[in-house]
Each structure stands twice: as C-alpha cells, then as structure tokens.
Symmetry: C2
DNA sequence: TTTACTAGTGTGTAAGATACACTTTAAAAT
DNA sequence: ATTTTAAAGTGTATCTTACACACTAGTAAA
C-alpha cells in the first residue's frame, strides 16, 4: 500500500487527479428500459436498430446526453422523441462503463427505467414498424450490455414495487383488484393468494373503491379502484407510513 | 404528443439521436463517499481541496474517468491514490448531472460509496493534513452537490445493511456483539434492544463465536466473533437465505 | 330457468417482532 | 481477602403480522 507522507505529495496527486483534461472526455449515452403492462402481463419495449453499429438488431431505446440538459431531461427527451410519450414515471438505474461495451466508440451509458400503461398509450407512436412490445421471457437477445440492463431494471422494479406505490404507474387510472394482483404476480413472477392479497391491499388503505364496475371480464363485473395519491402522501408525511406488499 | 407515422421518420430520429457527436462529449468524474467505523461511531472521510475551483473547501475525494478504465476501476484508483487504501468494499451509487454542478466545467459525476474499518487502516495515509474523518452530523458543508451525495449514500447504506451483510466491512475481522450493535445503531440512527439484537443475529447463524475475549472494554471481557462468509454464501445459494436485521 | 364464469369474502394458525430485568464475571479498589 | 464496579450475557410472555384455505354472490348468455 502506498503511504502519502506530506502535503506537497498530496497536492501533486490532487492536481493529477483533478485537472480538467479534454483528452478524457467521453460520450454519455442514456438508455431506457421501458416496462409496460397490458392488464395481463409485464412487457418491455424494444426497437430494431436501423443504423450502424449492430444495424438490424434489437435494442433498448437510447440517445446521447446533450450539453444543455441533465440526465433526467435527456431520458425524458429520448423517450418522448422515439415514442411520443410524455409525463411518464422514470428513475435512474445504473451507469454502465465497460471499455468496449459499444464497439463504435467509447461510450458510457446511464440507464433509466420507465413504467407505462400499455393500453392508454397505444397510439402514441410506439407501433411504428421498428418498435415492439415483447413479453419479458420472449425478448430477443439485445446489443451491447442491454440484456444486463434489463436484468438490473427488473431487479430494481421488484424491490421498488414492494415498498413504493409505483405499480400504479403501470395501470390505467381505474383498475380492478384482479388487474392489480396480475401486475404484482407479473412483477414478482409468482402466484399470490387472492384473499390475502386483497386483505393486504385494503389494510394499506390508499385505494378508493368506485361505484363503477368493469363488465368486460366477467358476468358479475368487478369493482374499479383508483389509487389515492394525496392520501398516500399524507400518510407518509404524517405517520411515516410505508407502503409494503 | 408527437405521433410518429412511418419508418422513414423514425429512422431520421434514430440517426439524429444516435449519431456519435464529438460536440456532446463530457468529462466524467468519480466521487467517493467513504464511510468508516471506529467501533463507536460512523464517520466519513473528507479532504480539503487545495486547487481551484473551491480551493480550501471540504469535499469528497474524487477524480476523473480515464480512457483505459471502467468506472469501478476508476473508483478503486481514486480511492487508492488518495488514501493508499486497497481491497475495499465499493458500490456504485448514483450519477449526478446538474448542468452547473461544477462551475469549472460541465462535469457529470458518478458517485461510489466505500466501507472501511477505521482502526485497521489508521496509517494508510489518510492522516495527511488535508484529509480528516468527520462524525456524520459534524461534517462541514461541502462543495458542489457533495452534500446530496452523502445523503443518498447514507440512505443506500441503511437499506443495504438491513438485507446484506455489508456491515462487517466496517468492522475489524474480530468484533464483539456490542460493536456490531453499535454499528447498526449508528447506521440506523436509533437505539436497539440488546437481547433482541443478539437473538436476531444468532438466529441468522452466520457468525463464529471465538474462544477469545476482548478485555479492553470491561472487567468481564466480551467474546469475539467473526463473520463466516463461506457459510453465508452457502446458505444464500442453497436455501435462498436472506440476511435480515 | 339453468348454466357458466369470475368476483368477493373471513378465520384460525403459525411465525416473527417486540418488550422487558436480573445474574455473571473479572478486574480494581479497599 | 472482601467489596465494589461496570459491562456482558441470558429467556419468556405477548402482540403483531403472514399465511393457508373454500364457499357464496352476481350477472349475462344459453
């Protein structure tokens, strides 16, 4: 181990480490893992690349950070430009930096994941020929380290969905208990008991049960619910409440 | 919302988004939040900057990503160069990108946090005049967005320490139950019940109780323990065990 | 009127979390 | 030798939460 003995040497090292060096500039990419839910299954949005390198292969949507924006803004812009989507839940995931991850050029990629309700955004441009929804286990092999990005996003989504009410981002405003359960079963990739699930959700006390039924799925019809965001926020603030599935 | 109607327009957008543009290159910094524990309190290592901008102010240690390394390697290098420390637990935290976060130049910073046992690394160069350990609540105001980095690191550490055995990275190889409890009390910032804590730790069944006592703290002396990493790994693999405090 | 199909509902049991106070040990002081 | 001192070490009862489990209700279509 190196021992630093005095202030002068420390200064040298600081200078060496911190001097702004144009040589070391890199391109910063932003890649988006877009999760969608269609009331039945969790899906992921991919595009077929029509430019080199790796033209013709499937990949996440992505773009480059520009001088006049921060990463969150870049992620929003990329998503909007390629899909027409706006006002979407997005969260930074992880920064990938393997030296040759992009054979075209040294590129570091900051990944973001997004959550959207597939149905309400059906005609927002995502049905262009080069973009498609894939079931999670039927997604094709992707370019670069994009497979790893999805794996990491999936792990994050699982953890978050258990402790934050982000699942509702994947559902339409009004949804049935069955749809909510389907969502959690997709995210967690396991069957849940209907009664226990409903009991747990009700005990959280953050849903509003509407006087309205969804009659499309059964003869009896299923009551619709909405997530009460104000109530949730208030509970978090006032009682330190944590959403827990 | 913008609707994309055909493949040609989509291609234009793809080209526009993805063309490698030298103009948009940026400097990537790596900043390290170094947590240390001295058997009593959780601390953080800061240095006094002896170069511009913000010369004379306290900051996290940091450096810039070089062409021939990935981010993990850069973080290890920065930590080693400035403190002499090697073989340290580090984990990528978050990437900060506010446009004017560094007034000297547009810089994006990828933060890492590190965990070390203060005592065993006492003479590794960190006592140079410009570096100092601070109690968490006595740390001075830092440059740029470094305060925010610490806040985020603290939150991550709290979550991780509850579900992964990373706390042991902050302790010497041999430690007493009291020290382990002190550590968790520091991390979680609350008092824990001694009996419940010990019962819980013992039920995890991943410590080895040694036939050896630490006689420095009390008349009676306290048994020393070591974390059994092999046993832990085996349990995780074979039974899907999760460490849970 | 019957059939078919999904929605909707409650309780008992097991496991885990929490609250809580006295005894043991060995060194230091007398 | 005896007493004092200070932290280590230890167990149980109670409460809370997690989990397993099966029948009735309601509506549209046949």
């Amino acid at each position: 181990m190196k021992i630093i003995n005095n202030l002068e040497e420390a200064e040298d090292i600081n200078m060496q480490l911190n001097y702004y060096n144009k040589e070391d500039q890199v391109l910063l990419a932003v890649d988006c893992i877009i999760f969608g839910f269609d009331k039945e299954n969790l899906k992921i949005l991919l595009i077929k690349r029509n430019f080199e390198p790796e033209k013709g292969k499937w990949s996440l949507i992505g773009g480059f950070l520009k001088k006049n924006e921060n990463l969150d803004q870049a992620a929003v812009r990329v998503l909007h430009t390629l899909t027409g989507l706006g006002d979407i839940y997005m969260e930074q995931l992880y920064t990938f930096s393997k030296i040759d991850r992009d054979p075209g050029q040294r590129t570091i990629s900051v990944s973001y994941y997004a959550l959207i309700d597939v149905e309400s955004h059906k005609f927002d441009g995502i049905q262009i020929d080069s973009a498609r929804w894939f079931e999670l286990n039927e997604a094709p092999d992707l370019i670069f380290d994009h497979n790893e990005m999805i794996k990491r996003a999936m792990a994050r989504l699982r953890r978050r969905a258990l402790t934050k009410p982000i699942g509702f981002e994947l559902l339409p405003e009004k949804f049935t208990m069955r749809q909510l359960q389907n969502l959690y079963e997709s995210i967690l990739d396991k069957k849940l008991d209907k009664r226990n699930f409903i009991n747990k959700i009700n005990s959280l006390d953050v849903l509003i049960k509407l006087d309205e039924k969804d009659m499309t799925v059964s003869r009896k019809g299923a009551y619709l619910y909405v997530f009460d965001k104000e109530k949730y926020n208030k509970k978090v603030e006032e009682d330190g409440f944590t959403f827990k599935i």
